[in-house]
């Protein structure tokens, strides 16, 4: 059974249909990449999964349970974390407070402390800036924070919306390393990326989204060699 299953999803913004019947699944422990051009609907899908947008029709199942109509916070507390597009860190809260909020659904103080140490180790910059208001961090620093915050919940699956956006090359590599590490640690990953090459290189499988529909899917390495993918998304 797939860990996350999306079935016949249709999403509208007013009269505009952004998602036109999308189905796919994410298996436990997999790294799945979702790629597609600007406006294809990637963000919309992630938002629908975590309940920030309501689908018009279709279903989302998490570990066999339907979560389509659940409110966002209930979905999240089932073990789904979401690193949203545009980071959306809490600008008026400090870095540390942001991280603590990531662990909002968790109870054990000691374990939370441990996770915090783990995050600080991964992102030393965050430790250094823990007292700074998140709103004054640079773009890349905010991206680290968003990622760290999501990891603080020790999710079963993490949805990432363009985590490499705005990051320096060295850090893009680092982020992808971290994603792999997270995945190795047992967390399932659903990754939305513009940097398709990198995404495909670490993913197990991938789906290609075009104007609200899935047009291609399959093994990530195979897709990487697919001519149409190469042409459209890898810039080769």
């Amino acid at each position: 059974m797939a860990m996350l299953e999306i079935k016949d999803l249709e999403v509208f913004y007013g009269v505009i249909q952004a998602i036109k019947g999308v189905s796919f699944e994410v298996g436990e422990g997999e790294v799945i990449a979702l790629i597609g051009a600007n406006g294809a609907g990637k963000t919309t899908i992630l938002h629908t999964i975590t309940g920030l947008i309501q689908a018009k029709s279709g279903h989302v199942f998490f570990e066999g349970q339907e979560i389509t109509k659940l409110p966002g916070h209930k979905i999240v507390s089932k073990g789904i974390a979401h690193v949203p597009e545009g980071r959306r860190v809490f600008a008026d809260l400090t870095v540390l407070e942001n991280l603590k909020l990531g662990a909002y659904t968790r109870k054990d103080k000691k374990e939370i402390e441990e996770s915090l140490e783990m995050i600080y180790k991964r992102f030393p910059r965050l430790k250094e800036r823990r007292g700074q208001l998140a709103g004054t961090l640079s773009g890349g620093e905010q991206q680290m924070l968003a990622m760290g915050r999501a990891l603080m919940s020790r999710p079963r699956i993490i949805l990432m919306d363009e985590p490499s956006m705005g990051l320096s090359p060295i850090f893009v590599n680092e982020i992808f390393d971290i994603i792999q590490e997270v995945s190795k640690g047992g967390t399932t990953v659903l990754l939305v990326e513009q940097n398709a090459k990198k995404a495909l290189s670490i993913a197990d499988r991938a789906y290609v989204l075009e104007t609200g529909k899935i047009t291609l899917s399959g093994d990530a390495k195979e897709l990487m060699n697919d001519e149409s993918v190469k042409k459209a998304y890898l810039g080769e």
Partner: protein
């Protein structure tokens, strides 16, 4: 000939030295890159150049004209236009009107002409429309002219910002991560557009970017910032091979 001269520029936020003794010279017609790790101070440099922040010390001159202490609006008039890292469009206005705001200071009629719809109004608005359309065409946005800016997909929003900046007829155009959130194809297209803009408008461009393909593809010279200070400066090819830059910024 130097268009922009920056000497010993610096600013602090509380204890944080965000930019420190920065020197940079950009010549007329150049395509210049500003790169560096996250938080190095690149956006802050843009904010200093455009008067959003006031430098703690240093000199900025454009075409020999001092810019330090001037307001954003005056600096725009003096000839600097920019885009923002976090897109800042006039979201509830049409794509066309966004560009027309950029044209504001170049197509004028007075308040009464507008209110009373005197003949000047139609004439000026018409030429504004034409000019805006021309610019939108450059960015392939002409079909979106009537749409609300908020409803554009991300990539088009970035382009619209550039179009708006160009509409103010700057001497120097500052682009803050124009390719962020674009896929390689879109980036490729954007590169072409930037080069086209440079040719067509004889524009000098300073851009911040993390996409090395774009930087190495179109920038002649770059400055690399690290912790607010210059790590390396010079011809793009040389700088990108500088081991310090590789270590601090590019990685392997």
């Amino acid at each position: 000939m130097a268009l922009l001269e920056v000497r010993n520029l610096g600013i602090s936020f509380g204890g944080l030295r965000a930019v420190d003794s920065l020197d940079m010279t950009i010549d007329q017609g150049q395509l210049y890159g500003l790169i560096g790790p996250n938080g190095a101070g690149k956006t802050t440099v843009f904010n200093l150049l455009t008067g959003v922040y006031r430098p703690t010390e240093g000199i900025i001159t454009l075409d020999g004209q001092n810019l330090v202490g001037k307001k954003t609006v005056e600096i725009n008039k003096a000839g600097i236009a920019r885009t923002f890292q976090n897109i800042r469009l006039f979201k509830n206005m049409s794509v066309m009107d966004n560009v027309k705001i950029g044209l504001h200071n170049h197509f004028k009629y007075n308040l009464f002409t507008g209110i009373l719809r005197l003949p000047g109004y139609r004439k000026v608005e018409k030429s504004m429309d034409e000019r805006a359309m021309e610019l939108l065409k450059v960015f392939d946005l002409d079909k979106e002219a009537g749409n609300m800016a908020a409803n554009l997909p991300y990539g088009k929003q970035r382009k619209l910002e550039i179009a708006r900046a160009l509409a103010t007829e700057p001497k120097l155009l500052l682009l803050d991560e124009p390719a962020a959130g674009m896929n390689p194809n879109e980036t490729e297209e954007l590169m072409k557009t930037i080069q086209f803009v440079r040719e067509k408008f004889k524009m000098t461009i300073l851009l911040i970017e993390h996409d090395m393909k774009l930087v190495s593809g179109i920038c002649e010279e770059v400055t690399v910032l690290n912790f607010g200070t210059v790590l390396a400066q010079g011809k793009t090819g040389d700088v990108l091979n500088d081991p310090r830059v590789v270590k601090a910024y590019l990685g392997e």
